[in-house]
Every structure is written in C-alpha cells, then in structure tokens.
C-alpha cells in the first residue's frame, strides 16, 4: 500500500485520528500527512468526514427511506441534470444512478414518516422528468458504512497468555 492509500484507509476507518496519530500509524511525517490531506481535499477526492450514528441507541426516531426513481430523458435533459436538482434537497442523503429496473436510488432522512412522505410526494414526485417513485421505509439497521450496530463480540481470550 502506498502512503496515500494507507492514509485513505486510516481515515475511512476512523476520521477522528489526529494528524499526529495518522503520521504515527502510516509512518509519515506530520507535515506530509497535512499536505496529502489538503491535496486530496482540493482535488475533491476527500469529500467529507462524518459520524456513523445509531439513533436507536438514543431512542430518537429517525425515519429513513430508500426511494426508487424512474425518469424520462430528452435532448436537453441528462441524468446529471435531474440528479443535480434532486441532490440539492437537504433531506436527500444519498443519490445514485443504478443499473436495472429503475434509474435512481435515493435515500431520504427525516424526523417522521409523514415528513418523509410529504417530502417525496410534494418535492420529488412533481419534478416533471420523474415518472414513478417506489418508496421503501427502513425498518432496522444492522450495519452502516462498514460499522456493525450489534453489541460486538466479547473478547473471550485469556487476559494474559504466553
């Protein structure tokens, strides 16, 4: 692994590592770590750093839905144009163009089911290019962004062994 890949692997694992820790773990100088990160951010390769929150543990209701979207294109309108329009809504957390039975898969988050439903029916469905929406509400999450939401496995190793 080259040092840039190593840095990205570490940040993907835990974006809260400090520069000093990243330097230690990747065997790089702190200055070089800062430079690499600045460069990756500048070229748009590193787009952000986010927390993975299990809202259930806080007894907070977060309603999430995956919505399949079908669209029609014409000479003046591309997938990119439609995507730009949809992605601007802050309720939309993820938007991907898919192969298969539908065009876009959109993930939406809100405080209640009525809020999310209202958003889809009032803001998304009326967009002229959108011909169909199929909404799936999330019932439970077991793993997000590579992080499992279970209790984790206990370390059942002997505390001291040869």
């Amino acid at each position: 692994m080259n040092s840039r890949d190593e840095l990205l692997a570490l940040l993907s694992e835990n974006a809260r590592y400090s520069t000093a820790e990243l330097a230690r773990l990747a065997d790089m100088d702190e200055d070089v770590v800062e430079e690499e990160i600045a460069e990756l951010e500048a070229k748009g390769a590193l787009r952000g750093y986010q927390a993975v929150v299990d809202w259930d543990e806080l007894d907070r209701e977060r309603v999430r839905a995956s919505v399949e979207l079908n669209v029609t294109l014409d000479r003046e309108t591309s997938y990119g144009d439609i995507a730009d329009r949809i992605a601007k809504f802050p309720e939309v957390t993820t938007l991907r163009l898919m192969s298969g039975d539908y065009d876009f898969l959109m993930e939406v988050e809100g405080d209640s089911m009525s809020e999310v439903s209202w958003f889809i029916s009032e803001k998304i469905a009326p967009i002229p290019e959108i011909t169909q929406t199929v909404t799936h509400y999330v019932m439970d999450a077991y793993k997000e962004n590579g992080i499992e939401f279970g209790d984790g496995d206990d370390d059942d190793r002997l505390s001291v062994s040869p």
Binding site: R24, L25, S159, V160, P162
Partner: protein, 382 residues
C-alpha cells in the same frame, strides 16, 4: 491415600505467566497487552469450512500424519511463500498445534544427557520440552544490542558448540525480533560446523514487517539438519483450533509420527478442514490482519519513543519488547497492572534473558492501544 506424583511433575516449575494471569483476572476494567494470540477471529470462510465438515459428518480420525489434502496444501503453501520444498507424503506431519510438534521433535531426537541449546528470550515451552525429553537445556542469551537476534558470538559465548540441538524462534515471541537471510548465515554455519540439529519454530513467519521471512532450512546444507515448525494459529487467527505442522527429513518425521500415533493418534479433524480452506482462500484476510498489526506496531513503537522508553524496532510477530522503566520488570508490570489496569508481561517469564524488559502485545484494537499508552504515560509521569 494420596497419589504420589512423579519427580518430573514435582520438579517442573509452573510457568511465570500463570501468576500474572491470576493477578490480571482479579482486576476489573483492564486493558491487556499481555495476550499471546490474535484479537481477530479466524477468517469466515475457514470457519465455514469447519462447520460444513461437521454438517457432512466428518468426525472420524484422519491419517496419523494428517489429511493428505491438507499436507499437499501445506507443501504448496510453504513452497510459494518461503521457498521450502517438502514432500507431503513423508516430510510433513500435521500436529495439535506447534506445541505438540516441538514436543514430538524433542522426544524423537533427544537422548538423556543431550544438550538442547535454546535461544532466549523464548516462548515458554522449549525448555520444559527439552527436560521432558531427558535433555539438558542450555540458554543461549541473545542481547538487546543485537536486537535479540541470534549471533555467532552469543552461540559461542553460551557454549552451544557442544550442544546437540538448537531451538530457535524467529520472528520471535516475546521480543518481536526477526532475522534476515544474511543474519541467519552465520547461525547456519555454526550449526553445520558443530553438527547441531536445528529446531526452527516459524509460526510467526507471515508476520514479518520489514523483510520477507527466510527459513533457516533454505540455507545451504541446512535442510537435512533442520526441523521447521509452522501452524495456523497466528497467521490465520486459529489458536483455539490447535493446528500446526512439522517439516523435516523423512526419517525424523517418521519417528515423530511414531510417537504422535501413540499419544495423539491424529490432529483434530474439524480444524484440518478449516486449515485447507485457510490456505486455499484466505490470503487476503491474512494480508489485512498483517496490515493492521503493522499499523499498531508503528503506533506502539512511536509512542514508546515519545515516552522515552527504550525499545528496539521490533519487526515481527505482534510483540514489542521495551526495556522496563524500572530495573525490576516484575515489579513494574505489577504496579502498572494495579494502578492503571494495564497488563503487560515481565520479560523474565521468557527466561532470565528477558530480565529488565516487558513483553507488550499489540494484538489488540487501536482504540485500546491508544488508551493503554495514555495510561502508561500517566503512570510514568507520577
């Protein structure tokens, strides 16, 4: 009536690690850097192969030497990775962990009164194994200034020229030392000159971070005088499945197998299925675990440097072997455990050669390592 114990059982001292284990068990909320096994589980496909074998009812004995399919997989694997060529028919024996293999080898080649030189600091089983076989253990004390590598000097100084057997273990538990081909050459030369049989425990071979592992058996004139040990415990995180193997000249493997067939019959069957799968399809997982250990190694070594703790750059296994900040490593380890809840193992557990040092295992998640180092820092600053 009480059963009278044999002299052997009465005189063999208990392992020093036991006492530390008991101390650690008494305490709540400890972070243990005292664990000699991976913190990962075996790769899922290997576990799945074990489960599938049970579902298919594969619960009978295997051949004494282990399943032929496994021995063939091992032969191909060691050829690929370490340039070792052994015939699966008569030069490989599958055992219940490397521990059994070392015991068998010592019993197969040591006569009462034979001298068994053991490079130390060393894993705790070699000396008792030599004693059980009737041999006289001779410590070969490696030195901090040589980064705990075996050198011609220490072999000569310890009187190993008169020994019959030399037991060595690189990458090393407890020091994390490794040896390059160039560094092994004088050791091989010494073994050839003095006609030593070499027992080389290479169970950490996949965990060498600065250079590819070289087996001493690949050096000129060494194959015929070396028994190589390896296993699945460390590289594939399969310690509890207890599976290792020995490779050597046919007559030695055959003698070991004779003892094995009476005492063990065959290594456990289920792990053999896991092991075949491990060799065939788990290289990516091994590489990923290795990468994680390497990161932690760099983290731990650089934290030691920051804290002013002297530690040579350990380059293998998952151990660092810093100098104890107090002269008495036992007292330091006990105080650190009691006051900060961080468990490390005093070097003396691995022979007198380990005095004044601590074995710090980094087979523990980075989060815990960070916290352990923070606690160590606060302990030292008092």
């Amino acid at each position: 009536m009480t059963i009278e114990l044999s002299e052997r059982a009465r005189t063999i001292p208990p392992s020093g690690i036991r006492r530390f284990f008991e101390l650690a068990e008494q305490q709540e909320d400890i972070i243990s850097l005292g664990v000699g096994e991976p913190d990962f589980s075996a790769p899922w496909s290997a576990r799945e192969a074990a489960i599938a074998s049970l579902e298919a009812g594969k619960t009978s004995y295997t051949a004494n030497r282990g399943k032929l399919e496994l021995r063939e997989a091992i032969a191909a694997h060691v050829d690929d990775h370490f340039d070792l060529a052994y015939d699966p028919d008569d030069e490989i024996l599958v055992t219940t962990g490397v521990s059994e293999a070392v015991d068998l080898a010592l019993r197969a080649i040591v006569d009462p009164g034979d001298t068994v030189a053991v490079a130390q600091p060393a894993y705790i089983s070699y000396v008792p194994g030599a004693i059980f076989a009737g041999g006289d253990p001779l410590p070969v004390v490696t030195r901090r200034e040589d980064e705990f590598k075996l050198t011609r000097d220490v072999l000569e100084d310890s009187g190993a020229a008169g020994a019959d057997v030399l037991v060595m273990n690189y990458p090393n538990n407890p020091t994390g030392a490794t040896m390059t081909r160039e560094e092994l050459e004088p050791v091989a030369e010494f073994a050839r000159e003095h006609e030593l049989t070499v027992l080389s425990d290479e169970v950490y071979a996949r965990l060498s971070y600065e250079h590819d592992h070289t087996s001493i058996a690949t050096l000129p004139g060494m194959r015929e005088r070396t028994i190589v040990f390896n296993g699945f415990s460390k590289a594939y995180a399969m310690t509890g499945l207890r599976l290792g193997y020995a490779m050597g000249p046919p007559e030695v493997i055959s003698a070991m197998n004779r003892i094995h067939q009476y005492t063990m019959l065959s290594a456990p069957t289920t792990p053999q299925y896991a092991a075949i799968e491990a060799i065939e399809s788990c290289d990516d997982e091994v590489a990923e675990m290795r990468e994680q250990y390497n990161r932690r190694r760099r983290f731990v070594l650089s934290r030691f440097e920051e804290l002013g703790i002297d530690c040579f750059p350990a380059s293998g296994a998952f151990y660092a072997f810093p100098e104890s900040p107090w002269d008495e490593s036992d007292a330091f380890a006990e105080a650190l455990l009691e006051e900060e809840g961080v468990a490390v193992v005093p070097g003396t557990v691995f022979g007198e050669a380990g005095a004044g040092h601590l074995r710090v295992s980094y087979a523990t998640g980075l989060g815990e390592l960070r916290e352990a180092m923070r606690r160590l820092e606060s302990f030292l600053s008092r």
